[in-house]
């Protein structure tokens, strides 16, 4: 569909130019390039990201574009492979001559494109969680989602509040789960929580009762924390109930979408997880400054695609809003100026939280971005 959007934009642009009307509109379109993992193991992230980008670029164009210029969106699918991401990022920068890059669905694909973005001096806004993307700070690289560390903190602090001191981790062995696992270990240590069992599974394992049995038989486990995304956590949840385990089960924000509840079924009852405001839009108190933003986005997304919104669908929305605002402020698409303006983003309220960036912070998310929720009767219940 990205190609479709692009072509339509081009054709419209040409038509305008030929008609000789709308002077400013006939000028060069603003080119936004995106490389996303629309297929492959991270497609559950990349697919909603792509949908959101297309939806909101089209909407922005309907409303007259930015600075009177139309927006041309070019999306390539890297299939989750870092090497492809690097090549497509280069293609976007060199061949398609985009003004800004949005992408890297995963930390791996983002990092693979980072050397290129830095060399070519194109602003890159990542949709991935990994801390290495912004720490150390790289002049041209930004990111919008929460870090995995923030999710881990939310969970560990909730455990602490309940008086839990000994926990077990079970995480997916690839990208999302692996980095979440490493962050969880660090956060738990800082908070005096002991990890007494630490197991992993592969994304497509049909059964994880072996790992869970090991956890079950470990002395003194007071809670289990599963960091993963896709089908794995649903299998973990079901196997957890199958074994009759009764300690609290925590999941990560990786499964904060209705799809998880649907797959895990009754087994999901009582599971706690950190979720962005977007997922629990309806439950947010009216005083929450995020409420109008996330409610509107959620409604628009679910109307357009007839599928449940997940945390990840919001990231490209935030990235796009930040970029468009920066272009507005910069008065054009000069890359150096644009970069500076992105860095000056302040007080932007998006789906992930409130963003205030600085030269030393290229994410700028307030730590209160996550809400702890519990699943009851197949729906989210806000705990804080």
């Amino acid at each position: 569909m990205g190609g479709f959007v692009r072509w339509r934009a081009v054709i419209l642009g040409v038509a305008w130019a030929c008609a000789g009307i709308g002077g400013a509109i006939a000028s060069e379109p603003i080119r936004i390039g995106s490389f996303l993992s629309v297929t492959g193991p991270a497609s559950f992230l990349g697919e909603p990201e792509k949908k959101t980008l297309e939806l909101y670029v089209e909407r922005a164009n309907r409303e007259g574009g930015v600075l009177g210029r139309r927006i041309e969106l070019i999306i390539y699918d890297d299939g989750g492979a870092g090497e492809k991401a690097a090549t497509f990022a280069k293609r976007l920068a060199d061949s398609d001559k985009v003004d800004v890059l949005i992408g890297g669905t995963t930390t791996g694909t983002t990092m693979a494109a980072v050397p290129m973005a830095e060399r070519a001096k194109v602003p890159l806004i990542s949709l991935a969680a990994g801390i290495p993307i912004i720490d150390p700070v790289k002049p041209w690289v930004f990111k919008v989602p929460h870090t995995d560390r923030m999710a881990a903190e939310k969970v560990i602090l909730d455990m602490k509040k309940r008086g839990i001191t000994r926990i077990a981790l079970i995480s997916e062995d690839a990208g999302f789960g692996k980095s979440g696992h490493d962050q969880s270990v660090a956060v738990a240590r800082e908070n005096g929580i002991e990890i007494v069992a630490d197991e992993v599974y592969s994304a497509k394992d049909p059964d994880v009762t072996a790992q869970l049995t090991k956890i079950k038989n470990t002395q003194g486990v007071q809670a289990v924390f599963n960091f993963g995304s896709g089908q794995g956590p649903a299998i973990v949840t079901r196997n957890f109930r199958q074994l009759g385990m009764s300690v609290p089960l925590y999941q990560s924000h990786g499964v904060a979408s209705k799809e998880y509840i649907r797959l895990a079924g009754d087994a999901a009852e009582g599971v706690r997880l950190p979720a962005a405001g977007l997922v629990v839009a309806a439950q947010l108190p009216a005083t929450d400054p995020q409420k109008p933003v996330v409610t509107a986005f959620k409604a628009e997304y679910e109307r357009a695609f007839k599928s449940d919104v997940s945390t990840f669908a919001g990231h490209p929305y935030d990235a796009l809003q930040i970029v468009l605002a920066a272009i507005n402020r910069a008065g054009g698409t000069d890359k150096a100026k644009l970069r500076e303006e992105i860095e000056k983003t302040s007080g932007y309220i998006g789906t992930a939280g409130t963003v205030t960036m600085s030269p030393t912070d290229h994410m700028g998310l307030s730590p209160s971005a996550f809400h702890m929720v519990e699943i009851r009767k197949g729906d989210w219940v806000l705990l804080d």
């Binding site: 090549t87 293609r91 990208g175 692996k178």
Partner: protein, 315 residues
């Protein structure tokens, strides 16, 4: 061995193509794709020695590619070994691994050999994914520029000439090997293992030597690729990459050095060309693969060469 019988001619034509292609390369991206194609070609030329000439399948060569890449990344990044030395050390280590594994594995035949090599590739992939202290885990590992005698290779154009040079070297070595007594022994093993043994060919020793050579080709290409990209993830060692490499060899034409090269170039370009077909990309790629193999079962280059020969014959 088909289209270009006089092999010096083949190398000269290739050199001319490498020299002329940049005239048509508009910007860095095209250079980058060309460089990627050449790196894949280097792996495929080595793999073709094993598959095309030796008749032995390997579904684990991406593992050797990844070992070369990670060897370079870890040695240069952690231990500050100069890039060229790191490349050579990694290739040496890969050669050793291939040598040790080669003996027991190459006794297997056909699909059993495919399974064993696939297993080795997957084990390498798992180790790279799991040992995150050393490899950075699934999030990957960054590495610096490649330096050669004090000169830094950076930017797509530098890499283009570098890759072109190494590719020519790989083609030259491969053609030499095929025409040498060792290469003849290898082809004989493919033709009839019993016959070769009776003629005094140590068939398992011959297979192991070529397995080692093809692994070293993959490792060197992996090291260079890692420096060119500046960042690597364990996915370069995945089963899919291995399958892609075998597909390149078979698609281009087995037992043809230039066929392997053509296969690598086409399968590198194809996803780039198909990228604008969006969700139909996979269907089109699959259909092209099936169509090529159905209508040109010997692979692109040998089939086309045959067509040309027949066409000339008719005239």
């Amino acid at each position: 061995m088909t289209l270009f019988r006089p092999r010096t001619g083949g190398i000269l034509v290739l050199a001319a193509i490498i020299a002329l292609v940049p005239l048509g390369l508009g910007n860095g991206y095209f250079y980058d794709v060309a460089v990627n194609a050449m790196f894949s070609a280097i792996v495929c030329i080595g793999l073709n020695l094993l598959i095309g000439y030796g008749g032995q399948i390997s579904l684990g060569h991406a593992g050797f590619f990844a070992l070369g890449a990670y060897g370079s990344a870890i040695l240069t990044g952690r231990y500050e070994v100069p890039p060229l030395a790191a490349l050579v050390l990694s290739a040496g280590a890969v050669a050793l691994i291939a040598f040790v594994l080669g003996r027991p594995i190459l006794r297997l035949k056909g699909h059993y050999l495919a399974m064993a090599t696939l297993g080795i590739g997957i084990i390498i992939h798992i180790v790279l994914k799991t040992e995150s202290g050393l490899t950075g885990g699934p999030d990957g590992l960054a590495l610096g520029d490649f330096t050669l005698f004090g000169l830094s290779v950076s930017g797509e154009r530098d890499w283009y000439w570098m890759a072109g040079g190494v590719l020519l070297l790989a083609v030259w070595l491969s053609l030499n090997l095929i025409d040498s007594p060792l290469g003849r022994a290898l082809r004989a093993v493919h033709g009839s293992e019993a016959g070769a043994e009776a003629a005094g060919v140590d068939s398992s020793g011959t297979k192991v030597r070529v397995f080692v050579i093809s692994a070293v080709f993959a490792s060197v290409a992996g090291s260079l690729f890692a420096h060119k990209n500046g960042f690597i993830t364990p996915d370069i060692g995945s089963f899919f990459h291995s399958a892609e490499l075998v597909t390149m060899v078979v698609l281009g034409g087995m037992a043809s050095t230039f066929g392997a090269l053509v296969g690598a170039v086409i399968l590198t370009l194809l996803p780039q060309v198909l990228a604008s077909f969006e969700q139909y990309e996979a269907m089109i790629l699959g259909a092209i693969m099936m169509g090529t193999m159905i209508f040109m079962p010997k692979g692109l280059l040998p089939s086309l060469a045959g067509l040309i020969r027949r066409w000339r014959g008719e005239r």
